[in-house]
Symmetry: C3
Subunit: 671 residues, 3 copies
């Protein structure tokens, strides 16, 4: 990219009265230099089957070009028009809950030829029309694409073929998935039942993997069409999103982000998060680390919140902090959903930069300072890159498997992911994200790999992790890792199976903890704590002389079993955490591993709520972001080489104290 982009989603089609030139005037004042259009307005662009009207696109492109604002054009395929559903009701996805009803977006069967026919036609019409327009810098295909639970007869039909292709014989299928159980055995391909009612977690997980594959294929199909039109310097992106808990929480269950990202030129994402007193910066960091890792490069925040919900209206200063937080994680664009608040329909209370009155307001006014600073610092802050030596390995397969076999307290995979990620964040240790399809070379770029709840994994991945340790790497596993095969078949050995070799412990029994604490062994007394174990615990027994038991359980019956262990294996270490321990205890365990690996230093020890993010610019200069996610003024000692604070253009000497106002931040570039 050439510059930082500051943008908004803009819907001329939703405007209650003619606003285009007034909106552009206000955008210019706020430093908005890119808008994102068209991804949800098919029914406006194709009011009747085969009748097209792109006048709103044309006029927005022309006006934006004139104003010097770039445009990202979306393919309008994620919300289908009424005429299509009236003509072909079965274009609506049939899910486990039955046939869908018209109304919401994202309700169609993404494999249905009727949908694909019409989608392809409008993509070609729209992108063919705009691709030469000088305002257009890139394309977004579809939006927050998922499979929408499509599971009708046609999808089942394809799934059976997929299973036959994958397993070859019916015998192999039954064996891998354990279908004998409860008489689910399929003895002939013709007998294959719809899986919507299955209780077999292995079969269910296979189907969900197949559904994710449908998303990957659908996106690649769209990209291939758009690529036919894409001009020099234009990009194609997708707006990925995350497990949604009212905000962007964790790994997306319905999409394999790593696989789906392959055909795109650049990764895009939306990130939403609590605000006001609940603002922590963690979701921005987590979402950024995932998205940056998809293409190993900078990424676009295609959507994030301006005012959004009433409880997300930012406090004064927060909007600025948020924008620079995204940059600190490696974003090259920060774009709000959306410019103006919607006056009807469904997301009326998901407010934009402008309220419903379409006039400047305190949040808009703060955006103006962001826009000005983005413009001023664009050269300094664009294309910043990371040199992380710590990575986290996340897995859709593990996620799905744990959905089928939830923890007794209802915790799921992302609870484990965030439990570990959040403590890394609090330690100011930045990380990249790896998929289960990582190669050995990719692994070896990192000194420490953190592995949360890798419940289902292939033998080869686990062997690779063993080798990684043997060669000098450090791995931290949580409980449940290594437990089952890719087909969610529990290993028939003592647990944790293959990784026992590197970890030097095993177990046969596991417990739902109640009134269980930790007792730190010699040198680890700091881990001792009552009532610090929840969700799950494994009764670990060391099996190698090189195992150090960091802590045992504090419990009248289970007190002889180890809870946390570290094994020296080859040139590296493998740490195994057998239970969900309290966050502060986990932090201590992680910190120690990082210290051993030399991946944490004094400068990362900052006041609570203050975060340090470090990047490198094109010239290789180190750029530090100090971000204060608290309402209080904070003081930190600058630990880098003498540098320049970029916002104030002020030199900062090594060791000099930096004062951060509440919800404030500063950016220091080493000379």
């Amino acid at each position: 990219m050439k510059k930082l982009y500051y943008g908004v989603a803009y819907y001329d089609e939703y405007m209650p009265y003619e606003r285009l030139h007034e909106d552009i005037r206000l955008m210019k004042e706020a430093g908005i230099n890119v808008v994102r259009i068209a991804e949800s307005t098919w029914s406006t662009h194709e009011p009747q089957n085969g009748v097209f009207d792109f006048s709103s696109v044309d006029r927005v492109l022309d006006a934006m070009y004139e104003a010097g604002i770039s445009v990202i054009v979306g393919t309008p395929t994620y919300a289908i028009p009424t005429w299509m559903v009236k003509e072909h009701p079965d274009v609506l996805a049939t899910t486990k809950q039955g046939q869908g009803k018209y109304g919401a977006r994202q309700i169609m069967d993404i494999t249905h030829p009727v949908y694909l026919f019409y989608a392809e036609r409008i993509i070609r019409k729209l992108i063919g029309r705009v691709s030469r327009h000088p305002a257009v810098i890139g394309y977004q295909v579809d939006n927050e694409t998922k499979h929408y639970g499509t599971a009708g007869d046609n999808v089942q039909h394809r799934f059976i073929k997929h299973m036959r292709h994958k397993y070859g014989s019916i015998e192999a299928l039954n064996d891998a998935l354990g279908l004998d159980y409860w008489s689910n055995r399929i003895n002939s391909w013709e007998d294959f039942p719809s899986v919507v009612g299955t209780i077999n977690g292995s079969l269910g997980a296979e189907f969900e993997r197949f559904q994710r594959q449908l998303v990957t294929e659908f996106l690649a199909w769209q990209v291939a069409i758009v690529n036919e039109y894409k001009g020099e310097g234009q990009f194609v992106t997708q707006n990925f999103d995350f497990e949604w808990r009212g905000y962007s929480f964790g790994v997306q269950p319905s999409v394999d982000h790593f696989a789906a990202a392959a055909p795109f030129d650049i990764a895009g994402v939306d990130i939403y998060h609590p605000s006001q007193d609940e603002l922590t910066g963690i979701e921005i960091s987590f979402g950024g680390d995932v998205t940056r890792s998809l293409k190993g490069s900078n990424y676009l925040v295609l959507e994030t919140q301006a005012q959004a919900f009433p409880h997300w209206t930012p406090y004064p200063g927060q909007l600025r902090l948020l924008a620079f937080s995204h940059i600190a994680s490696g974003a090259n664009m920060v774009s709000y959903w959306h410019w103006h608040s919607i006056h009807n329909s469904f997301e009326t209370y998901w407010k934009g930069l402008l309220s419903h009155d379409l006039q400047p307001n305190p949040v808009y006014n703060e955006a103006k300072t962001v826009g000005a600073d983005f413009a001023r610092l664009s050269n300094e802050l664009v294309d910043l890159h990371k040199r992380n030596k710590v990575a986290m390995l996340v897995s859709n397969e593990a996620l799905t498997a744990i959905e089928w076999f939830k923890f007794p307290d209802g915790s799921n995979y992302n609870d484990i992911v965030r439990w570990m990620y959040d403590e890394l964040f609090r330690l100011n240790v930045e990380c990249d994200m790896l998929s289960p399809y990582v190669t050995e070379q990719e692994l070896e770029r990192y000194d420490v790999i953190v592995v949360p709840g890798l419940y289902a994994a292939s033998d080869s991945l686990l062997h690779m992790l063993n080798t990684y340790v043997e060669k000098g790497g450090h791995v931290v596993y949580s409980f449940k890792s290594g437990f089952a095969s890719e087909a969610v078949k529990v290993r028939t050995t003592a647990q944790p199976g293959i990784i026992e070799k590197a970890c030097g412990v095993n177990y046969q029994m596991f417990i739902q903890p109640k009134d269980v604490g930790l007792r730190g062994k010699q040198g680890y007394e700091v881990l001792s704590c009552e009532q610090s174990v929840s969700t799950w615990m494994e009764l670990l027994t060391p099996i190698s002389a090189d195992v150090e038991v960091l802590a045992t359980y504090q419990h009248p019956q289970w007190g002889n079993y180890a809870a946390i262990t570290r094994n020296r294996y080859g040139k590296g270490t493998a740490t195994y955490i057998g239970a969900k321990i309290a966050g502060d205890k986990l932090q201590l365990v992680l910190e120690q591993v990082l210290e051993q690996a030399g991946k944490i230093s004094a400068e990362q020890r900052l006041p609570q709520g203050v975060t340090l993010k470090t990047s490198y610019n094109e010239a290789g200069q180190k750029v530090r972001f100090y971000l204060n996610y608290t309402a209080e003024t904070q003081r930190v000692a600058y630990a880098g080489k003498d540098g320049l604070e970029l916002l104030d253009k002020r030199t900062i000497g090594s060791g000099e104290q930096i004062v951060l106002k509440g919800w404030g931040f500063c950016i220091v570039k080493e000379a």
Copy 2:
């Protein structure tokens, strides 16, 4: 009416053995002078298609007449017989949840010609048969009528025509309802989808208004039929009810009471409410105020609880208090559901005046005192009327709109209505109820109008309220008032839109409060309170020099914004309450407005739990009810002119102390 009626619902058809003469004997002892019959027993009266058997009606009419007990005959149309459903299964309403199942009452499609054909036939048969019977004083058509969610293809078909009629062009429809959003735009009437899956709040609210219209039409249709038979002096009524939260809570969402009441001679209602230690009298007062306002006259309590649920079994004294509470609100009839407890089926634990043993019991014995007093005081207490100068404006449209856009904490419209109503009640300020279709003259009968959450409203109504203030009226608005158009389109101006003119404040931003209090401005320190704001808050800014800021928010970030304001506009004032503040603080705000308007006086300041209701008899004499909704003895000073306590026939001097026993009451008529 000529007299007070004391009644019961009576079902000879449900009796486990021959009881008629014994029941009448017990009724006479209890002073029961009216029974309500037949509204739920179609399958007894028409055992087979076209075969009629009204013998139970005939014999009850004859026996009651002989005993001097009047009868209200219901049209038996709210519970359909099995033969109809076997012949025509599609007579069951298809709702958002799909096709209905036979079993409950109120499950049919009230627009279905099969149902209408059979309903008309039995109405004509039954009413034609009984209308000349001297026992019959009136008719109830159907019962607790609603639309039962009917939303099948036939209803959708009519709805489309209704939309075309209302909006004229497809363009106007799309604009008003904002259908462009998420590609919901309808570009041809043929494309109009079923709205059962819509996510568009404007379209959804239109459909619910249409469904309420179906109820209005259905009731008018029944009334027209019955009117063909109605004799001199007979009336036609309907049994309206309320939002049900296990008891009668607030405005009925599925019926526009004001519109539906038009064809009736007199309004009827059922009111149920918590009892024992939870008895407050508020539901009786609220339900009474609504129902009295429908026809601007006295009303019938067609159903209220005798023993009902186990937790509603009245304490000794409560049954009496309740009966006179209804009279104090303007009822001319108090009738229990029901005479006897049912031995089978569904409402077995909704107990009547008699328990399942059909013998006298303590509650029945207390009813005997009520019956005797009703008879004795009938001339004094019949046709009492109100001269209220305070009114509350309630709106089905606002209710539906807020259902579509619920408050973040789940609160809905009726929570706001009751929040304001309950404080008026506690201030002993009686009010009438107004609909959004009120005329200017009607408005001007009142000195103070309280307006809870008028979220969706026409421009004309809001302009009329501005004019009302300008001419000298006082309005108290809650937050959210004026926010959206009738079509639930948020106004494109600063909020609260049109009423900003009278209120002199506006806002662009709103918050979900957390740890927010009030800080009373000079002269209003009494409003200061920590943690007193919940549900919703608007960041108000005065825009007029005449605005007095009563309170600002107590919060580190939002402390500069006003929370409560009062504006002098023309000759009146408009008070705007921008947040859900604690009840006691709201009471202070209301009290002050009422004081300014001269609508509250010392006599309304009574011990907590003691309520004063004031009416006028035909002679224009003031009649005061002092009602003690506590278990303790209470003392109040009688503030009227010298008068007569009607129960004891004792004179009461002005200023004299009145002693009210726990759950007791007294009635004083000024001389």
Copy 3:
């Protein structure tokens, strides 16, 4: 039976690799002498329609025989193969929720001829093949059989005929079930609607009784087929189970255990229960008492937990305690579900004796001690019988009726059953279970009958209970007893209806208690307690001079009513408990009745958590089990005649102190 059986469910079909001989080796080491096979593996045994493969059965039988391990063969009919559902989708039960989906077990219509045809064929094939095999000692037909909610058109059709047969005339039907209410009256058999939507509790209860009858018929049909093949000395059993609340809680709602047990040679059962610190022994005792009572004899625990859920992993010592607890209740077999933990599918976390690694582990090691002791003590502990003089009367009809008319706090029938049962258990008073179809002679075997919540009951049963008291028996009734007829028609007399005669009290009114306590009358001050009444209370009035009021209510309004009464009637007494009182108060009431009846003695007063179970061996010698369900060491005084502690072969003198370790037990046989 000849010996104690110690067993496991064994599924060669589910094994991830060849294990048979290794498994048998480990079983032998653990003293396993019986396995249970084949009840869930139809799709393995009949891979295609009409193609059979019993090789896994054959090889298991041969290998077990060789090892001296007996086998119980199940008919594999409770989980249907995919080919059947593909050929005949309507074989899946249609329930209130609609058509079923393939996947789980227990989803078919047990009345469907397609299912019955295939089920009969495989039963004959399998049982015909194995019945002469010397390893086979018996058969289990189906498993945990229920009706699975089957309620489709075919079942409705049969139900109508059943109703016509039962009631004869449509008039009688309408009268008994109260169908007039809400126009549900059926005036012609052709009009009979599907009852899936009924709101009539009487009709609904009739249908559920009919569904239970379907289970009885289905099981009898299977038994008849198996009996054709059953050899000398072989038995047929069924695996009954209980109301499931995450564990075996109470009376099974979907099966009439007493009726269904008739055709079986011996009753079998599965019992699961909380463990670790939540282990109380009550579920084992309750389930055992029910199952023992079905045939009046010893029974088989066909399934109980080994490791099962993470929170049920037994503490050291608990597995032993549990096994002997079953024996103490009269079991002749304790068999785990299951041998090995499952590696795929659904019950992966319902762990067996072996974990997924299929190796010895601490629980397995403890099982070895059980197996050894079972073998050693088999002659001493097999065929122990009870001589209980206390019984509890439980009723499916009352259970269903209370489901239709739940208590206001959501409590149901089994909450009342367990409320009473648990206090008997804590008093160390053992009881048998009686059904409503008990005969007068059977009743008279007992001195005390405890009757929880007998809400729906025939006149004849209640008269019989009156007679029982008159002749000298003692009955303790809870509230709600006697309230309604078998057809769930509330009695039209004062309550508790017919039993008023023996109880000497009646009531007309009942309350949902709030802040209500007890006030013990003279001599019963021990019952006084504030806030001790919950769920339900009846306002009792003594009507006989022989009534002793044990306690009245402590409440400002209801304080004059009796809460607990005892009446001397004839030669016996009837105690009536009108409210759900606190458990410790109930215990006092029960204890006093038992003392009067001479059915409790000093030896039953033991430290909390220590249980005494008493049986008799074939020689008539008394055998006492002292079971310590606490983690602490307990001391008890042995109260029997001089005897022999069977585990240690140590003599114990009368009065000698016995020391029980935490989760320990001892067994003393009188000399």
